[in-house]
Symmetry: C2
Subunit: 248 residues, 2 copies
C-alpha cells in the first residue's frame, strides 16, 4: 500500500444517512483507546466518518475514499453541506487526549468540509474491520456522546437534508431502484418528521411524472403485494425545464 501524506489542518467529515424502510439512520464510527496502565479498551464516544485529506487528492476524492473504506461502495450520492473552522473545534480535553494517543500528526486547528452522503441501505455491507462502524437511528443522536463538534455537524447535515429534499429529488437516493408508494411515504415522513395522509400523499406523487409505476409487484410479502415504482432523473430533468417558480 502506498502511503499518502496527510494535510494536517484540513479534513472531510461525512454524515452518511441510510433508510431501513422504517426510520432514518446515520453511520457512526466508535472512538476508542487502550488504557496504558490497565490495557483495557476504553470507548470514548462516536465520530462521523471522516479523516484528513491527502496532499495528492481533492476534497471529493477524500470523501469518496473514506466512504469506500467504510461501505465498499463507489457511487455514493455526496454533497457538501458546509465548511467548519471554529477555533476550538478539536481542542476539548477529551479530544486532545485522543489526538495525542493516536499521534498521527494532525494540527491543533483543523478546518473540516462536511459531506452529506445518502445510501441505499439494501446495498451496503459495512466493511471496515479494525473499527466499529454501525448505523444509529437519527432520533438517538441527541443523547449520544460524540467527538469534536460532530454532533453539531450532524444536525447541520440533517437540516441541509430536510431543506434539500423539499426542492430536489434527492430522497430517492435512499431507496432501492424499485420501491413501493408506502416505502416512499415512510421515507418522506422519516425525513421531515411528520406524517402524511395516505390519499393526499398519493395525489401528490401522481403529479410527479418522474415517479413511474411499473408492471412489477412485490413478491413473498405477508400482505397484498404492492406495485413497484422507479424514479427517473431523466424524466425529472426534462419535465422541470422551463418551469420558473419562486417562493411564495
Amino acid at each position: 500500500m502506498i502511503s499518502h501524506k496527510i494535510v494536517p489542518n484540513i479534513s472531510v467529515d461525512c454524515v452518511v444517512f441510510g433508510f431501513d424502510f422504517e426510520k432514518l439512520n446515520v453511520l457512526l464510527v466508535k472512538r476508542e483507546m487502550v488504557d496504558e496502565k490497565s490495557g483495557k479498551v476504553l470507548i470514548l464516544d462516536h465520530t462521523l466518518a471522516g479523516y484528513h485529506i491527502f496532499e495528492d487528492e481533492d476534497l471529493d476524492s477524500a470523501a469518496t475514499r473514506i466512504l469506500k473504506g467504510l461501505t465498499g461502495l463507489d457511487n455514493i450520492f455526496l454533497e457538501q453541506f458546509g465548511a467548519f473552522g471554529q477555533l476550538d473545534r478539536v481542542s476539548s480535553p477529551k479530544d486532545k487526549m485522543w489526538l495525542d494517543y493516536i499521534n498521527q500528526g494532525f494540527a491543533d486547528r483543523v478546518v473540516t468540509v462536511g459531506y452529506l452522503a445518502l445510501i441505499d441501505n439494501t446495498k451496503v455491507t459495512l466493511t471496515l474491520k479494525d473499527r466499529d462502524v454501525s448505523w444509529f437511528p437519527v432520533s438517538m443522536i441527541t443523547d449520544m456522546e460524540m467527538a469534536f463538534d460532530h454532533k453539531f455537524l450532524f444536525y447541520k447535515a440533517l437540516e441541509a437534508l430536510q431543506r434539500k429534499v423539499k426542492v430536489e429529488p434527492i430522497a430517492f437516493e435512499l431507496l432501492p431502484d424499485y420501491f413501493t408508494l408506502s416505502q416512499l411515504q415512510k421515507l418522506y415522513e422519516a425525513l421531515l418528521g411528520t406524517s402524511f395522509d395516505k390519499r393526499n400523499f398519493r395525489k401528490k406523487v401522481a403529479q410527479m411524472h418522474y415517479v413511474i409505476p411499473l408492471k412489477k409487484k412485490q413478491q413473498g410479502v405477508p400482505h397484498k403485494p404492492a406495485q413497484y415504482y422507479l424514479f427517473s432523473r431523466e424524466v425529472y430533468e426534462k419535465t422541470r425545464k422551463g418551469r420558473i417558480s419562486f417562493i411564495i
Copy 2:
C-alpha cells in the same frame, strides 16, 4: 495595527453580488504587479474578494473582515456556497508568477471556502484604497480574465444564488429597505435571467404576506410615483410555519 499570522493553505473567497435597479453586478478586485525592468504596472486580471484566513479567526470572521475592508459594511448577508480544493487551483504559470511576486507565504496548495455575499448597493461606498475594486455586470464575466479558479467559483456562486432565491427570501438582501414592485420584478428578472408578465408577477407578490405595502411613495421621480413596499422576515417566518411542501 496588530499583525496576524495567516494560515498558508486555507482561504475564503467572497462572490459579492449587488443590484443597481437594472442589472446584477459582482464586486471584483484588479490584480496587478509592477514589472521589475520597466517599472510599469501590469494588469494581470481580476480576482474575487478573498484572502487567507488568520490563525486566530474562524471562516465567517475571515469573510466578514474581508468584506468590511472592501465595502466598509459590517452586516452583510453571507452564506457559504462550497469548499474548493482542486489540486491545480493555484498553479497556473500566471498565478505562480504572481504568488512569487507578492511573496506572502501562501502554500502551493490552497483550499478555499466560497461565500456568497448579497449587498444593498445603495449602502455601499467602496473603501479599499490601495487596490482597484469595482462592480462588473454579471453578463461581462464570461469574457473576463480571472485569477486562479475564480471564474469557476463565480459561476458556482451564481448557480447557488439562482437556486436559493427560488426557495428562500434572500433576494430582498439586494434591495434597500423600501422598494417598489417594479424594482422587485426587475431584481427577480435579473437574478433568474428571464422576464415576467407584470400582472402575473404582481399576483404572485400579492400572495407573499411578507411583502408589505406601505403608505409611503417615491418622491422626486420623473414618472408617477410608485408605492413602496418592505420585506418582513418576521412575517415570513411566522407564515411559513407548518407549511409542509415538497417537490413536484
